[in-house]
């Protein structure tokens, strides 16, 4: 287990290193930061001076080394739009994105698993087929368009929920969140549902496939032959088996939720990292773009790593095999 963990951790570090090279090359080497950083009417001399001041005259390897050293100290450059440390700007926005992603995850679990279970247990019923048709739609619907339709329906026509923004966060028990208030929930409702739809569709399909497969297994029939109630057979014997892949996928999808928050946040003006990155790409605020990309890449790698570990903890077959080896 320990050996496995260390090996997996080293793999994760390697991926992070490769991604940092790619992002560095992409953002710093391909474009010329001077063109963006310096006013357009600057003289050639001023440009040269800035170039030397920023270390851009040195070889690429050296520049990368400086970049990495700074990055390790949490310095990913200064945003020239906010005139602050880029990492700080990102970290300020992170809680909002995380909050949105977690609420979306909540909907995913709350709706995806029961609906998938139902569709898996009654695959030929009308309700089961409707759920599946709905999930195909959930897959097909482009999330940004669904977002617009949600705004149109619930904010414009019905006027039930606010269409944009996030409520003022409050701090209770050491947790700062906008979800402490009813207003906070009303604001997070539409964007989180929008973000969750695709994931719900995915979890429905996954759960349904898992249930259908598990129901054919001898161990389910044997559990029934023991005289267990249907509730226990499904709730324990079937669920315990399908929860392993579902938890794994849910974990991996958390990274997806954070990345796809880019779209949702842009539509609902949710003040998270995603909206920031789109603005920054358009404003050519490169330090922010780099900080966001590295941060998200780091998050995804971390999540994948955590899920791998979780998987080996959940599945006794994997867990014990590694322990024995």
């Amino acid at each position: 287990m320990t050996v496995y963990l260390i090996r997996r951790l080293m793999q994760a570090m390697l991926v992070l290193a490769v991604m940092s090279v790619l992002v560095f090359l992409g953002v710093f080497a391909i474009g010329d930061p001077i063109e963006i950083l310096i006013a357009a009417d600057a003289t050639q001399r001023e440009k040269e001076e800035a170039r030397i001041a920023l270390g851009l005259d040195r070889p690429l390897i050296e520049q990368y080394w400086v970049f990495v050293q700074n990055a390790l100290q949490g310095d990913l450059g200064r945003s020239f739009v906010f005139n602050m440390s880029a990492l700080q700007v990102i970290l300020q926005r992170f809680p909002a994105t995380f909050e949105l992603a977690m609420v979306a995850m909540l909907w995913t679990v709350l709706f995806g698993i029961p609906l998938g279970l139902w569709a898996g247990l009654k695959p030929d019923s009308f309700s089961g087929k409707s759920i599946m048709a709905g999930s195909i739609l959930g897959f097909s619907l482009p999330s940004f368009w669904v977002g617009l339709m949600l705004i149109m329906t619930f904010a414009v026509v019905l006027g039930w929920l606010p269409s944009t923004g996030r409520a003022e966060p409050e701090t209770h028990f050491g947790i700062t969140s906008s979800l402490w208030t009813a207003k906070g929930w009303s604001h997070v409702m539409l964007p989180s549902i929008n973000l969750a739809l695709g994931q719900i569709a995915l979890v429905i399909r996954l759960t349904r496939a898992g249930v259908r497969e598990a129901m054919l297994m001898d161990y389910v029939k044997f559990a029934r032959a023991k005289g267990l109630s249907q509730r226990r057979v499904i709730g324990v014997h079937v669920m315990k088996n399908i929860m392993i892949p579902i938890v794994t996928v849910l974990g991996l999808e958390l990274g997806s939720l954070i990345a796809f928050a880019v779209v949702t946040e842009s539509i609902f003006a949710w003040p998270g990292m995603g909206k920031l990155i789109i603005d920054s790409i358009n404003l050519l605020d490169r330090p922010i773009v780099v900080a966001y990309l590295l941060m998200t890449v780091f998050l995804v790698i971390f999540i994948n790593f955590a899920v791998d570990v979780l998987y080996s903890v959940l599945d006794p077959r994997v867990r014990l095999k590694d322990a024995g080896a």
Partner: protein
């Protein structure tokens, strides 16, 4: 319980006729196919069937802007689906937008398929470190959300049609590579490859002449899903303002244009391009779903 599946033998006789017959057994899939044919037809013949050339500014009048569906323009043209802020007929805009969205989606899928297929087969055929290297890259790439990869590329490369297509190809190729490798690993152990090897045929000939055709069925399934994914991703990027330029609006950009008018109740500028996008993706997915059910031997019982 698990007897030999007779369908496998039957498929060896006339696989394509069987696939076609099975495909038409599902009314939903047929509906998807019909819808898809219509959509592709509209996209291909857009210049001839559109009431208006939406790119020709001379034909547009700002006075016709933001008219609701059914309004007649100053030139006597009926805006069946309304008009946008430039006075452009939405129906024509959608026809041309479909053309661009489909073209970008299909083009990127074809290139990605070619790249992925070659990489996947090389990995499967040569094995060893080549295989390990290619598959590790695939694994790493697939562990990142598609939109994140696209964002990195757009941030690095800048914007433009070519950049979007490059981003879409980069996002997709790994799926094909993994699928092809999986199939090829199974297929290369079959007798017919051994026979070809015994005949001392050249490696490329075995690879592309013998192995490739047999890896196609699962690829077709992945390809349908991927084209839908590519169209959706391109639309998303365009919606975010990171995709295609405003001069050639794809469906995503049309939807983005209407976004600002949505809150004032002028829903049609965003709504109808969205419906077109939705129908396209649903049609492709319906067809793809059925193909997967037919071509997946694991589901046959």
């Amino acid at each position: 319980m698990s007897g030999p599946t007779p369908t496998v033998d039957a498929a060896a006789v006339s696989p394509w006729r069987l696939v076609v017959a099975e495909f038409f057994a599902s009314p939903l899939a047929v509906f998807g196919l019909v819808l898809l044919v219509i959509i592709v037809g509209v996209a291909v013949f857009a210049p001839w069937i559109s009431p208006q050339n939406p790119y020709d500014l001379a034909q547009l009048s700002i006075m016709d802007g933001r008219q609701p569906p059914g309004t007649e323009s100053l030139d006597g043209l009926t805006f069946w689906l309304g008009s946008d802020d430039q006075g452009r007929d939405m129906l024509s805009g959608i026809f041309y937008g479909l053309r661009i969205s489909l073209a970008v989606g299909v083009l990127s899928a074809i290139v990605a398929l070619a790249v992925g297929m070659v990489m996947g087969m090389v990995a499967a055929f040569f094995g060893g470190w080549v295989d390990a290297l290619i598959m590790r890259i695939v694994d790493i790439q697939l562990s990142f959300p598609a939109i994140l990869i696209a964002l990195v590329l757009i941030a690095v490369l800048g914007q433009g049609v070519d950049k979007v297509i490059i981003a879409l190809i980069t996002v997709q190729w790994a799926y094909y590579a993994r699928t092809v490798r999986g199939t090829a690993l199974v297929e290369r152990r079959r007798e017919y490859i051994e026979a070809a090897t015994c005949l001392a045929l050249s490696k490329p000939r075995i690879l592309f002449g013998h192995l490739m055709p047999n890896c196609l069925p699962p690829l077709i399934v992945v390809a349908t899903v991927q084209v839908a994914g590519a169209i959706a991703l391109e639309a998303t990027l365009s919606f975010l303002g990171l995709g295609l330029p405003i001069t050639e609006p794809s469906l995503g950009l049309l939807i983005a244009n209407g976004f600002q008018y949505l809150l004032s109740g002028r829903y049609w500028i965003s709504f109808f391009p969205g419906v077109a996008l939705l129908l396209t993706i649903v049609a492709i997915n319906l067809v793809g779903d059925q193909l997967r059910d037919i071509l997946n031997p694991r589901l046959k019982k």
